[in-house]
Symmetry: C2
Subunit: 428 residues, 2 copies
């Protein structure tokens, strides 16, 4: 349940998509690493907050207690700590596992690919963070997915907001996950959850509401830096100062047009400590609708400065920031688009079919195809002793093989091969 | 235990190796598919004989009972049956899982990559089988791993041998797995296991011994076809006839020089029904040793005509033959070779480092690198506001970045960028 096979046409399309993402990661100088699908259960414990119940555990068959990785970020942090690496830019493309209720029609599965890019190291503020946003911008532009928006916020600003609204620190995390629903449900429902489920007062919830419904750009950052309450909060001030710096760098990258500082963005995972962001595709439902409609998140990430320290015996921290491209959602969109366009994705790259027009020519075919393979040419032949020529040519048309190399009795006598262009039927 | 992380240099080397294997599979017209790491436990049950105890099972967390895939062949068969596909040539490169005692020094892990190529379909005898051997030959030649030998046998010949030696059919499978040890332990030990553990008589074991110690080429096939006992056995006769045909095709491919018909080859898995084969690397230990020493299997495969039928509700069979490249073993060899040669494998592909020689030039670097990225150039910069030029150039040397694009105050005034060749120190 919640998993799927990828038949050839899908696998080929996915390869094409992943190649575009890898190209961007390499353009930014990232190295690839690979980690096991299996992690010690204790490695995953306490990293995912309320989502931890979705972790797949392995049967205790003797030896270590294992689980399937839930994302690529925790294994990366474990890898850095284990190898005492304090400085690294890496990408990792691999499958992760979540015992979620799959919504396979919307491209949500229990086994799915993640494409992560992360920068670890003690650096000057917001330079790597800005690069992560640049990467999201490049990939979404390259893939021509239509208009998109990258929402940005900072956990420190959110925590500052909660503090000045009178929320006790013990409720920050749980309040965060409620705020995060603001992109899916209206404020009134979010408020109800805060009051009824999370036990906040009406007044506190209303005060939060005044902040988390704000979004904008540099102007909003400046306004909040002047906010009489927020500007008194150390964390919020730090977060807003860095947000301003981030926007400066994004201006130099020329991408602020697609960036929105959005105080409702919270993101679910426990481990974020600074900047957080999420990219959504926008869709003009029809011309009468003024506000573009979000069709869901296609990338997300943020800063997690404490995670690596959780794996170090001495608690030594390695600041990290990273981005995860939501390749499955993007794949679903591309797949629909290919289907709509009627484009036929070739599942193989075969250049030539070695064919024979008469019987008893298997040996000639085997000799010729062997020469072609040895010369590096992508070639196929029928696994029948005496296939019909028409069937062989039909197969070329069906699978998009552009050429047929034909050896018949005449060709054998003349010591030649007849090369046929399948589309034009031209022969030489 | 038995798993490992792949740091960047290893991941880059592995990518290079996998690319060579994929190139060969594509040259032979195979399409890629992907299947989940998770399979239903019942899918794997009864497919692996004595090895089944090595399957990783998932905890029962509600819902289906799951296991991690043990190889890529059973999932392929399940895929064919589920989708009613009767005809397919596919490759699949992915990780599989075995709770084996890992011998990590010899490149044996509990999580490891398999690279499989299989041909499914009802075809004329031995044509796809010959292609599988050609593929092994091409890959081992391409990778320049030194001398190798591909041992070939047929389950039908083995079963024929067992029958004419008076072994009851119920003991064929278990006798097979004992014979398979002949490449690792001497005949006397194999015989002891047959008699003491498997309950064969001394005489029967000796009779088996006369056959399974034979190896050769077409001459041996012809001799066995004349063997008074074997030639009376229907299965053995079929197997020997097909073996002769196989050698004819391999002669047309020009690769019989590396092929040995070896009656001791048995292979452990239950599902093989016809041709089986295994490639070993040969190593001349020193000039005084006459017989080359085998350093272990680097590829294997065979025909499994019954497996797909086990997944079809009506038991409809789809004949299959395939090969699995032992990529982990090959990777270990390549890694040792790279280490011995002192070759430095670059972990990234970065073409240029954007550097500044004075302070307060971060904005200039950000603007320039953004232009480079947008132009598709692989570029990096330091995440520091004011890095030292010497450190920036040193980083280029350490990581193999060939060029530095330098913007200083003078360059900014002149509206130019200074491009420095890191190796020659030439600047333009």
């Amino acid at each position: 349940q919640g998993t799927r096979d990828h038949p050839p046409a899908q696998a080929a399309l996915r390869d094409r998509l992943l190649a575009a993402v890898v190209a961007c990661f390499k353009r930014h100088g990232a190295a690839a690493i690979d980690t096991p699908v299996l992690e010690l259960r204790e490695t995953l414990t306490g990293k995912y907050g309320e989502e931890a119940k979705l972790i797949y555990e392995l049967q205790d068959q003797g030896g270590e207690l294992l689980a399937l990785r839930y994302d690529l970020t925790v294994p990366f942090a474990r890898y850095l700590a284990m190898n005492k690496i304090t400085n690294m830019k890496r990408y990792h493309i691999a499958k992760v596992y979540r015992r979620d209720n799959p919504a396979t029609t919307r491209g949500r599965y229990r086994e799915f690919y993640q494409c992560d890019f992360d920068i670890a190291g003690q650096f000057d503020p917001m330079i790597p963070d800005a690069e992560c946003l640049k990467i999201v911008h490049e990939i979404l532009s390259d893939l021509q997915l239509g208009d998109f928006l990258i929402k940005v916020n900072d956990r420190r600003i959110l925590n500052g907001v909660f503090a000045v609204c009178g929320i006790p620190e013990s409720k920050f995390v749980t309040t965060c996950s409620t705020v995060d629903k603001l992109d899916k449900i209206p404020w009134q429902d979010v408020k109800n959850e805060m009051v009824e489920e999370k036990g906040l007062s009406h007044e506190a919830a209303d005060r939060i509401g005044e902040y988390v419904q704000l979004h904008g750009g540099l102007d909003l950052i400046e306004r909040l830096l002047q906010d009489p309450k927020l500007s008194q909060n150390k964390l919020a001030k730090e977060g807003l100062g860095d947000m301003k710096l981030l926007f400066e760098y994004l201006t130099l990258f020329g991408i602020t047009g697609k960036i929105s500082f959005d105080l409702s963005l919270a993101r679910g995972l426990d481990y974020y400590t600074g900047v957080i962001f999420e990219a959504v595709l926008l869709q003009q439902e029809n011309d009468h609708v003024e506000e573009p409609v979000s069709v869901g998140s296609v990338a997300g990430g943020g800063r997690y400065d404490g995670l690596v320290g959780m794996f170090d015996p001495k608690g030594r921290k390695v600041p990290c920031v990273g981005v995860s491209i939501g390749i499955e959602r993007i794949f679903s969109i591309l797949e629909q688009r290919v289907k709509a366009s009627g484009e036929k994705v070739r599942a193989t790259e075969t250049q030539v079919l070695v064919a024979t027009p008469q019987k008893n020519l298997l040996a000639a075919r085997l000799k010729l195809i062997s020469e072609l393979w040895d010369a590096g040419i992508k070639a196929e032949m029928f696994y029948k002793k005496d296939p019909k020529l028409l069937k062989q040519l039909q197969y070329c048309e069906d699978t998009g093989i552009p050429l047929a190399a034909i050896v018949g009795e005449q060709e054998l006598t003349d010591g030649v091969v007849k090369l046929r262009d399948v589309a034009t039927r031209e022969e030489v």
